[in-house]
Symmetry: C2
Subunit: 109 residues, 2 copies
Amino acid sequence: MLNIKWDEKGLVPAIMQDSVTGDVLMLGYMNKESLEQTVESGHAWFWSRSRQELWHKGATSGNYLEVKEVRYDCDVDAILVIARPMGPTCHTGEQSCFYRRLTPADLKD
Amino acid sequence: MLNIKWDEKGLVPAIMQDSVTGDVLMLGYMNKESLEQTVESGHAWFWSRSRQELWHKGATSGNYLEVKEVRYDCDVDAILVIARPMGPTCHTGEQSCFYRRLTPADLKD
């Protein structure tokens, strides 16, 4: 069994990347159960830190992430899921959660 | 000033993506100072959780990440850096830290 380095809350960060466009769509967190569900079901599942529950992404909106490939990093403490989104990934309606650019002015007091 | 949601350790996860190939290269963690250094210097800087110090990626290897764009997500708790790597990003010599594929067998006891 792969020895994933879960953090102190039993979670690992999981990057979602669009299998067609290559865009980074979102960063979520998975616990053991959601990672297993992701691999078994072919849909991305997360642990919702705000709601403290398993989260089947798209269950409400229909915007599932269809998993094409799951990868893990050299330290086994981060996951990369390459997936096809069935609609906008972001709850704002944007395709990607990373729709805003940070400028130097954003870091000024 | 952008109200970044730092975690309880004062860190935010930062995804590095190759500006040319679109590959996801690594996931690192930034504190306020390393994010400022990243934006000001044009090189990716991190907080090394293992060494507990500021980490100028590439300072030892020469494999700097030249920053093209910094983005942040809808919840302002994750960063995406689009960058050109000056060499392999992973300490193993691989281009990306995500060089291994997870299979269902990896999750079996």
